[in-house]
Symmetry: C2
Subunit: 454 residues, 2 copies
Amino acid sequence: MTSPAAGPTKILLPESRIPRQWYNVLADLPTPPPPPLHPATREPVGPEDLAPLFPMDLIAQEVSTERYIDIPDDVIDVYRLWRPTPLIRAHRLERALRTPARIYYKYEGVSPVGSHKPNTAVPQAYYNAVQGIRRLTTETGAGQWGSALAFACAQFGLDCEIWMVRASYDQKPYRRSMMEAYGARVHASPSEVTSAGSKIRAADPASTGSLGIAISEAVEVAGGADDTRYALGSGLSHVLMHQTVIGQEALEQLAMVEETPDLIVGCTGGGSNFAGLFLPFLREKLAGRIDPVIRAVEPTACPSLTRGHYAYDFGDTAGFTPLLKMHTLGHDFVPDPIHAGGLRYHGMAPLLSHLYDEGVFDAVAKPQRECFDAGVLFARTEGIMPAPEPTHALAAAIEEARRCAETGEPKVILTALCGHGHFDMAAYDRYLSGQMDDLELSQERIDTALTRLP
Amino acid sequence: MTSPAAGPTKILLPESRIPRQWYNVLADLPTPPPPPLHPATREPVGPEDLAPLFPMDLIAQEVSTERYIDIPDDVIDVYRLWRPTPLIRAHRLERALRTPARIYYKYEGVSPVGSHKPNTAVPQAYYNAVQGIRRLTTETGAGQWGSALAFACAQFGLDCEIWMVRASYDQKPYRRSMMEAYGARVHASPSEVTSAGSKIRAADPASTGSLGIAISEAVEVAGGADDTRYALGSGLSHVLMHQTVIGQEALEQLAMVEETPDLIVGCTGGGSNFAGLFLPFLREKLAGRIDPVIRAVEPTACPSLTRGHYAYDFGDTAGFTPLLKMHTLGHDFVPDPIHAGGLRYHGMAPLLSHLYDEGVFDAVAKPQRECFDAGVLFARTEGIMPAPEPTHALAAAIEEARRCAETGEPKVILTALCGHGHFDMAAYDRYLSGQMDDLELSQERIDTALTRLP
C-alpha cells in the first residue's frame, strides 16, 4: 500500500463555468495565416465560394478577427450534457514514474461519443439548423467524427448522411451502429448514390475507399441540394475555435489549484484537439503572463509538421478543395495503417501550420509502439484506457516526466486526453500480442509524395 | 429551436463529498435475511467455511450489523479517479416525452471501465492486498465484471486470473483485450488449467462454456492456493453494500436541488446496482423522512423476482456454492441469449430477495425490444448510449413519465444509468436492423427448471 496522494485528483468546474464565448486567436496574431486560394485562379477564396457548403454564420467565423465569439445558449444547453470536462491530476502515473513533475490531463472522453469531436459538431449542427438547413453530410474514417455529428444532428432535428470509408464500414461496424442509433444514414464509400462514388466503383468494383473519396461524395451531395450543407471535423479555423472550450476550462482549472504549465502537449492529426487545448494558453503567453513550452506530437508514420513541406496543397486526395497553405506530405500521400486513425491526415490545419512556421510551438514524432507503451502504463495507473490518438501526447508527457525524474525539476505538464479507447481494443490486442509494427516511413516515399504538390 | 432548459443539467459533488462510509442496511432491518446453508448439513455456513475463498475483512462485512463501515483511505484514493459520479437531469428526454415528470439519472458509466462494477472491485482488491494475498480469480461472462476486477487488481499490484465464458471469449474479444491491457490473465472457460474445466472438455471438446462452469474453475483455483482468493461481482451482501456509494451520493445531489424522489427504479440481474442506488433512500424511508415507490426491473427472459420461487437454491449451475435463500428460476435455468448479459442470472441477491419478500419494493419485467426502444430514445435525446442492462430501468422510467404526461403529475423519478453501451453496439445493430426478438419465456420452461430446486 502506498499512502493516498495529497491534493485533489479531479479538478471540477460547475456547469455555470462552461465558457460563454469561443476564443479566436486570429485577433491576437501579428500576421494572419495565408488565405485559401482558388485552384484555377490562385486568387483568395471568398465567402460566396463557400456558401453552397457551409452556413453563413460559420463562414463569417472562419474569417472573423473578433477576439471572442458568443456561444449560443442552445449550444451551451447541449454542452451541459458533459461540459465542463474534468481536469485530472495524474497522481498514480506520477508515482509509477517516480517523477517530481506534476502531470494534469484534460479528459474529453466523458462526452456522449467518447471524444472531443462534439465540441464542434454541436455548434455546426446548430448554425445549420437556424439557417433552415435540413440535412448535413460528412465523411468519416473509423467513425469518431461521424458519430459526433450524428449525435449533434439528433439534438437539433437534422438529417445526417455520412460516407464512411468502406474498409472501416465492413471491418469496424460498431461506430457505424452508433451513428445509426443516433438516427444517421451511413453509406459505405465509394457508394452508388453519388456520381463520384459510382465512377470509382465502375473503375474498381472492389475499391475499399479512402477519406479523400468519402469527402468527394459528401461534398457532391451537399453542393447539389439547397437544404443540405457539409460539415467537417478538423482543419478549418472555425473548427479549431470551437475546440477552445477545452483550453479555456483548463486555464481556469489550473488556476484553481494555483498551477502554471511549463509544458503543454497534445496530439495532432488535423490539429483541432491540440489547438483547442493550447490556444487560450497562447493568449496568456502572448500577453506575457505565462511562458509554457507548447509541443505537438504526431505519428512517425504521418509526420506532416516534422517532415512535410509548408506549401499550398489540396485538403483532399482528389483535389476538389481550395488550396490551403499548410504543412503537408502531399495530398495523395497515403499513410500506413497505424491504429491512431484520427492522425492519418496528410496535412496540418492552416492556422496551426502558420503558428508552427512562426515558431509558436515545437513538434515531435512518435512511433506507435512507444505510444501504446504509454497507453498501457496510463491505463494500469490512471484506469482510463486512452484512444490510440492521445497515447501520442501521453508518450511525450511521460518522456518529459522521466526527464524531470533525472533532473529533479518539478515541472507542470498539461496534456489533453481527447478520447477513450473503448472502440479501439483491437489495437491494444495487437500491441499486447506483439503483432504491432512501428511502420517506418522512408524519405523516398515522402519525397515522391511531395513532388506532386500543386 | 427549443429554449434552453431551466435549472442545472448535471448536479456535481466535489471530490471531498465522496462517501467516507458504506451504508449497511442490515442494521436497520427488523428481521435479517435467512442465512446461507451448507448443502450437506443444511446448517448455516460459518466464516471458517468462507475463509479459503474470501479475506477475513470481507467475511466480516458480509455478516456485520454495524450501520456504517468506514471506507479505507486507499479505496477512496482510487474512487477519486471517477467518483462522485454526476447526477443528471434528463431535461431533453423529458421534453421529448412532453411530461411534467422530472427525471434524474445517476451515471456510473464515467468509471474507467464504463460501469458501476469498480465500486466493489476496488475494495475487494484492497482487502485482499492488505491480507497479503497475491492473486485474485474470478469468472466473467461478456467481461463487464472481469474488466472491473482487472482494473482494481492493477491498482493494488495483484495478479488477476479470469475465466471468461468461451462463447464470449471467442465472439466478444474487446473486453478480453481490456482485461489483458490492465494486466490480467484471461482463460477461455472451460479451460485445461483446472480439473473442473478439463473434465468438461474431455466430455465435450466443443463446449462453449457457461457462467456456472467459469465460477467452478475460478473457485477451484482460489481454493487450492494459499496466496489466492476469489472475488465476485454481485449477489453477496458486502458487494451490495460497496455499491451504496451510488445512492448516498444521489441522496445528497437530489437534496442540492431540493428534490425528493417519488419513484426510484433500477435494473436487476444479481441486484448490486439497484441495491446500491436505493438502499440509502430506504434508510430515509424507514426513518419516515421520504416515501418513494421503489421498483426493480428485470428482463422477461429472466424474471427471477416476478416469476421465480423464493426458496433455497445454489448460486451456481453446478451446485458447488452454499444454498442461498433467494428468488430463483432454478440453478440450472439457462436464460435465452438476450443482449443484457448482466441480467442473465437465475437468482436474485439473498438480501434483495428478503426485502422483496417483505414488500419493500415492487418489480416489473420488460421485453428487450421495449428496452431498446427506450435506449435509442435516450441516446437521441440525452446523448449517452446506454448499456443494454440499464435500458430496462429506462423503459420503466419512461413508462412512468408517460403516465405523468396523462395525469399531469409532476413526479420526481430517479434511476441508475449503470453503464455506457460502447461495448454493446452489436446489440443496437440487431435492434436497428429489425433482427431483435423479444424471446418469450414459457411457463413450462420455468416450471421444469423449478422442479430441480434442491
